[in-house]
């Protein structure tokens, strides 16, 4: 079915032409829809298996001697009993029930779904990287440490901040590190600041992080241009403010023109400025958070630096910080000794100000390999080109969506131009055409597109947040714009089509309320 099988940009998105008002009829059911989901636990048969054990080549003392019965499990866990061919068929089969970036356009705002070059997978799979134990002696892991050192350096240069920790496991983990760093910084100065300012456009991880770090969220208003409301900021910036967390360009895809003044205000009250780097793809080589006045930045290597998203991770969320924050960085970091060798610097001295570790070992090294490969491939010029192309693509697509027929229904929420992404409002569409942003999104599935991010940022009515990235062609952008126009035209004629969408997906709209009300979160076994 279209949504998951092909990037068929010019396809007829296929509701049965003869029955436009009965789109849910069995006639329209695609073949994957006829297949009922069956888990691996429901397959196989007793005694089947894939694993063959290596031989028992040591003496076998009585089992009780090795592990007394009171420690022993009584019944084996009811794992599947399946052969290798069955496992392969099962997972290859369900993989086909996924839409993916290699199969079509994925303009998911705030997520930077750029192409993932396969070179990176090849490099990361080299035994010297993939089979390197994290506790290998540093002298015997010099290649890995050099890679991390170089990556630290590149991220430092890109962010304009001198010190980097690669440890955090994802963006929100980086945020947590950042807020804890801020706390440590203030505490070190004998201050207990409790408030963290976050604009109402902020990503959910920002406020959630603040709470987990024991601080308190104070919301900042957005001005009519989509930037921080400076008056609100001035009013709230007081001595109890620990930090302002900002995304710039923000989640509206807009670069805050007052960023210098914002920094001044925040620093003026002794607070730190935190940069949520999820939108860094707009400004690589063009503008640097450090130069804007930020003290702490997190990177999402899985966004700007093309670590594949894996269906929801793994990611990696390194942070870069200014000098004043550096003493508090999580340890270890990688340092180069005078003799050119690389070392893990632990800082275990008694007076250490480090906030400590955030996780085991050194961070998601496998992601570092990929992002480092990406930085090497693009280089200084290529990174800038990538951001320029990302912004060009976004503005072109925006221009296409500001054409007549679309713009009246889906106006740009703020601004005129945009950076790497933009946010439309589905409010007029909802009022005029009686379909919501959700319906538009679901109908896009039938056209073989992943929908944009929907209902975020929260301050935009019926928000639709579109991020095309630099690796898409003009043909794809045009096809997407055409699809939006077609869906709107179709809705003008008959809103039921979108309201009932999708039709061509392995399953159609799912009952999320029932799922949450009586959660079934594992396969029942007998």
């Amino acid at each position: 079915m279209s949504a998951i099988d092909e990037n068929h940009l010019h396809a007829d998105p296929g509701i049965d032409g003869h029955h436009p008002h009965h789109p849910t009829s069995a006639a329209a059911a695609g073949p994957l829809q006829r297949e009922r989901a069956t888990t691996i636990f429901q397959k196989g048969a007793p005694g089947r298996r894939a694993f063959v054990s290596p031989p028992l080549d040591v003496p076998m003392p009585p089992p009780e001697e090795l592990l007394p019965p009171r420690f022993r499990r009584e019944q084996p866990p009811r794992l599947p009993e399946v052969s290798e061919p069955e496992i392969v068929r099962h997972y290859v089969g369900i993989s086909k029930r996924n839409f993916d970036l290699d199969s079509g356009f994925y303009p998911l705002g705030s997520c930077t779904m750029k192409h993932n070059p396969r070179l990176h997978e090849r490099a990361a799979a080299l035994a010297g990287h993939a089979r390197l134990h994290p506790l290998q002696d540093p002298e015997r892991a010099q290649g890995a440490l050099e890679l991390m050192f170089n990556l630290q350096g590149a991220l430092s240069e890109i962010s304009g901040l001198p010190h980097v920790s690669l440890q955090p496991s994802a963006g929100s983990h980086g945020e947590l590190a950042g807020v804890l760093l801020t706390r440590a910084y203030h505490e070190d100065r004998g201050e207990t600041r409790r408030k963290v300012l976050t604009p109402d456009t902020a990503h959910g991880t920002n406020p959630a992080t603040v709470t987990m770090a024991g601080l308190e969220v104070v919301k900042l208003a957005t001005n009519p241009d989509g930037g921080i409301d400076l008056d609100d900021l001035r009013a709230k910036a007081d001595a109890d403010v620990a930090c302002l967390m900002l995304t710039n360009p923000n989640t509206l895809g807009l670069f805050d023109p007052n960023i210098e003044e914002i920094a001044q205000i925040v620093h003026g009250v002794g607070a730190t400025l935190y940069y949520d780097g999820a939108n860094l793809n707009a400004v690589m080589g063009l503008s640097r958070p450090g130069d804007m006045g930020f003290d702490i930045v997190h990177f999402n290597l899985h966004k700007s630096f093309t670590q594949p998203h894996g269906g929801g991770g793994p990611g990696s969320g390194p942070i870069a910080v200014s000098e004043r924050i550096a003493p508090f960085l999580p340890r270890p970091v990688v340092a180069r000794d005078d003799d050119g060798t690389f070392a893990l610097e632990h800082d275990r001295e008694p007076g250490s100000k480090s906030i400590g570790r955030l996780r085991g070992f050194h961070g998601n090294y496998g992601c570092f390999v990929r992002s480092y490969a990406y930085i090497c491939s693009l280089g200084a010029d290529g990174l800038k080109d990538a951001s320029e192309a990302a912004v060009l693509n976004a503005n072109y697509l925006l221009a296409r969506l500001r054409e007549k027929g679309v713009a009246e229904h889906l106006p740009l929420a703020y601004g005129e131009l945009c950076m790497h992404e933009f946010v439309l409002s589905g409010g007029p569409m909802k009022r005029a055409l009686k379909i919501k942003t959700l319906d538009l999104a679901k109908r896009l599935l039938d056209f073989g597109f992943h929908p944009p991010t929907v209902y975020f940022p929260l301050l935009v009515d019926e928000a639709l947040m579109v991020e095309p990235t630099e690796t898409e062609t003009k043909e794809t952008l045009d096809a997407f714009a055409d699809a939006i126009a077609q869906i709107l035209a179709e809705a003008a004629a008959d809103p039921e089509i979108a309201l009932g969408a999708p039709y061509a997906t392995p399953v159609r709209r799912l009952d999320e309320v029932a799922a949450a009300k009586r959660p079934v979160i594992r396969q029942a076994l007998d």
Partner: protein, 471 residues
């Protein structure tokens, strides 16, 4: 494209949006781009300067293990359909990923004997801290009691995060060597004593960092009678084919490092953290959870569920800030478990048990090498190195260097990892199914010679030339 936008250059788009003061105005100080073959050559050259588990006979463990990863895992994780999508926000076109989560949750629930599992957290140590946060949300108490026999990284992470939680961490020491159980396990009396009515969570590891099988049921029971903490166990999933599962030992929340389940070493990450709990914790769990439901036509399907726990809905009231987690690593985990299967996980457990036992007995028979404790061990065990006078050898590093020169990495120098006094002279040796009896015998030979040489050297200077052959 520029014409459609209404600008004359790309530059103009930036100039109209970015204030001049914060434009970079120069090129980044980074090398220029390279062709694919050059990048690959560079990355290969870096890889070649690492001694991987392929390049030496390695007994390194302490949290990550060189288990065999079956080839079908690579094939599946490299499929575009699993590798390149993001979090399944649009369930209609993400049934593959959602079903994988559901199956993963089922497998983890089966392994741990606990009814609910999330779809993954970052990795092992941070999962411990995430469980502590769950306890905080659950009972709003302030004390975290943790066994010192946890992985040092888990303890350190707990300290870091507890500061954010405004909670206090109390470490329960190891039992003294003189006690019945020997050193290397949690001191049961101290454990019970540390837990009070204000204790939010009581945390131990099973098997613990020193490889010892703890008396999990006893620790849980003691905790429950000393207070009302959430009992958290950090478990090693590969042992759960033969070890009594946490759910059957009174544990409330089980967390652990998932790497042994079909994930690469990757110099420490990415892997995944498993997180399972009793039913009552479900609505406070961190992370994604896939749930079963039906579509408008009645077809079985899966969705992300209980999202009102999560940051994108609940924002500052979320039960966790986690967003991007470890879906692909968890996929590897569940495929690995399907590959092992119901019988395989037991057989593998028995093989590890037998080989680890053999290795421990063989090594502990070497002069100057002693078991740290007498508890059962499954795939890892701690040894203490002593000088001829019986005092513990400070310089495990020197012994290790001698082994490394022979191409054998004998395991982890625990003191170098933890910097804790209790860990001086301790070597942690991991045995996977890839380490045969012959490999273990080779380790015994090399380690025996290395310890002997160090003891000799301690006794008086002697040349070591004949051993210093590079690997």
């Amino acid at each position: 494209m520029l014409a459609a936008i209404g600008v004359s250059s790309v530059q103009e788009i930036f100039d109209r949006q970015i204030p001049e003061g914060v434009r970079l105005g120069r090129e980044l100080d980074l090398p220029q781009g390279l062709s694919e073959q050059e990048v690959f050559a560079h990355l290969s050259e870096l890889a070649a300067r690492n001694v991987s588990a392929e390049d030496e006979l390695s007994f390194l463990g302490a949290g990550m293990y060189d288990h065999y990863v079956p080839a079908l895992i690579d094939m599946l994780t490299e499929r575009s359909e699993f590798l390149t999508p993001y979090t399944p926000y649009q369930p209609e076109i993400s049934q593959g990923g959602l079903q994988v989560m559901f199956e993963y949750q089922t497998a983890i629930s089966e392994l741990t004997g606990l009814p609910v599992s999330n779809a993954s957290t970052y990795e092992g140590p941070s999962a411990v801290a995430a469980a502590a946060y769950l306890a905080k949300l659950h009972n709003s108490k302030r004390r975290l009691v943790v066994s010192a026999a946890l992985h040092p990284h888990a303890i350190e992470t707990l300290h870091t995060l507890a500061h954010g939680y405004d909670m206090e961490v109390v470490e329960v020491p190891l039992a003294a060597a003189a006690s019945g159980a020997g050193a290397g396990v949690t001191d049961a009396a101290a454990w019970a004593a540390a837990i009070d009515a204000d204790t939010s969570a009581a945390i131990f590891a099973q098997p613990n960092f020193y490889g010892a099988v703890e008396d999990a049921a006893a620790l849980s029971a003691a905790a429950k009678s000393a207070g009302d903490p959430v009992v958290i166990a950090q478990v090693d999933p590969i042992t759960l084919g033969i070890l009594r599962p946490p759910g059957a030992c009174g544990v409330d929340v089980a967390v652990g490092e998932g790497q042994p389940l079909g994930n690469r070493l990757d110099f420490g990450g990415p892997s995944f953290g498993l997180f399972a709990a009793r039913e009552e914790y479900l609505r406070r769990m961190p992370g994604r959870i896939a749930g079963e439901t039906v579509d408008v036509d009645g077809r079985r399907g899966f969705v992300l569920t209980l999202q009102t726990r999560e940051q994108h809905i609940r924002r500052e009231k979320a039960t966790s800030n986690i967003c991007t987690a470890q879906a692909l690593n968890a996929l590897a985990g569940v495929v690995y478990l399907a590959w092992l299967g119901r019988r395989g996980i037991v057989e593998l457990g028995e093989l590890l048990l037998a080989r680890t036992h053999y290795a421990r007995e063989t090594l502990a028979a070497l002069p100057g090498v002693h078991k740290l404790h007498d508890q059962p061990v499954i795939r890892e065990f701690a040894l203490r190195m002593t000088a001829p006078d019986g005092s513990c050898v400070d310089d495990v590093a020197a012994i290790r260097r001698r082994c490394l020169a022979q191409g054998v990495n004998p395991g982890v120098d625990v003191h170098a990892l933890s910097a804790r006094e209790q860990d001086r002279g301790v070597l942690l040796v991991a045995i996977t199914e890839k380490r045969s009896r012959a490999d273990i015998d080779r380790l015994a030979e090399v380690l025996g010679a290395a310890v002997a040489a160090e003891r000799d050297q301690a006794a008086g200077p002697a040349p070591v030339t004949d051993e210093a052959v590079p690997a």
